[in-house]
Symmetry: C2
Subunit: 233 residues, 2 copies
DNA sequence: CGTTATGTTGACCTCCTTCAAAGGCTGTGG
DNA sequence: CCACAGCCTTTGAAGGAGGTCAACATAACG
């Protein structure tokens, strides 16, 4: 296998009993025994950067929970461009629409190397009906999707591009403490509804003003306070 | 009572048995008898234009189903402006976040005169747990919120303002057959993330080019084909 | 009939896109 | 090991799109 391939790799059946993020994901209310008793398989997958979990409009047999990494949900525009409508982090769920429909509404692509669990829709639907804790967790994930979509509208699609970029960096977790891995300029553009060039220019301006500082590779450390000031104008 | 007040008026207990849109709203799977047996009150309200169903951040004791009219969900921006993040039509639900949280995430305001049913959260939660049909309807409403939010990102917050306005008119139902009541220019701006002046200019341009035609008052008829052509560019 | 919100229009300037070119990084093949 | 291709990023210049500020028109309402 090539070192830089973008194929999803199968890492065996999920070992929910020892999953370090189980309490943040869908099955937080279930015991390890209850999970082991599920007949249908939950697979543990590794998605390298740029790997595609599913395509927009494809038949939707699975729900995915993110255990690590960063996933983008994007839609294709009629003019050939793309728009990223959500960013999923550990604990988030992709493909919930499978529970009420037949097809995925977006393409799901790994922005950074990611570990995900792939759960057949039937498993989720059954647990939803039989386990109140799973049911409640599902409602919370759904509301979380709504909240994140609202955040994309209010914070990342409103106001001048510079303020939007500042909000994006904050959204990505730029606290100033640890370096953060940045998406490509193209993805930044698709996230904010601006062109790649504008994204590049704004980031260059941030660097020039000392608001962000290149650490190594695509990792940066940010001046959180300075960005926050730009953000709400 | 003043003829043009914006207070919500109480129109008595909901008569679900004779509700003409019951099959489109949350309780489509329940019989009239089942609904009558609910102990807690479901109120039938009329919300005149500009009436406020609830404020952003307020305690959230109710879920609202829209029976007629048009409701906007808006959030206040740090710089004093506003952004409309959703439009709710008959069959849609407002305030679902009450089922997983304490407070409303937006302000809900009637864009046009609206009839709504106000349902205590406890009623919805109980029916969600005891009636599978209501449970399924809830999931569908939640997904509908996500889909509508995505539409705001992809269609109403992407591309040049003129294309966004064309998509908004189409979203509002401009088929060319019947006249449609338009929101104010200010609301159009808040819907599209542009200024009131730009919204006015674009609408004036549409009229000049014959793409929309003023019927009476704020009602317009649209050239659906012409707008659709502008929409995907 | 004045008063107040809402819509329209103009002038100006900033921001962003577009098109183009150059620079940097990486993997590949000689 | 170096040269080269390919991709991403950066930067420039020019034009257009949209914001801002201001004046004015229109409509709604007391």
């Amino acid at each position: 296998m090539k070192p830089n391939c973008t194929n999803i790799e199968w890492h065996g059946r999920a070992k929910c009993a020892v999953c370090e993020v189980r309490n943040f994901v869908l099955f937080s209310g279930l015991s390890a025994q209850e999970l082991d008793s599920i007949l249908q398989p939950i697979d543990n997958l590794h998605a390298p950067q740029h790997a595609v979990l599913y395509e927009q409009g494809a038949a939707a047999p699975y729900v995915y929970t993110i255990r690590s990494g960063l996933i983008k949900l994007k839609v294709d525009l009629p003019n050939g461009g793309q728009r990223i409508v959500r960013l999923l982090r550990p604990g988030d769920v992709a493909g919930l629409e499978t529970l009420v429909g037949e097809r995925y509404h977006h393409a799901a692509i790994a922005l950074q190397d990611a570990d995900v669990c792939r759960i057949p829709r039937d498993v989720v639907m059954k647990l939803d009906q039989t386990r109140p804790s799973v049911h409640q967790a599902l409602l919370q994930r759904w509301q979380r999707s709504v909240d994140q979509a609202d955040h994309f509208i209010v914070a990342l699609s409103t106001g001048p591009a510079e303020a939007r970029m500042a909000r994006l960096l904050i959204t990505l977790g730029c606290s100033g403490e640890h370096p953060e891995t940045m998406p490509s300029r193209e993805d930044m553009g698709a996230l904010l509804g601006i062109t790649t060039e504008t994204a590049s220019r704004i980031m260059a301006g941030f660097k020039r003003r000392g608001l962000v500082h290149t650490d190594k590779g695509s990792d940066v450390v940010c001046d959180h306070a300075g960005l926050a000031q730009l953000a709400d104008c």
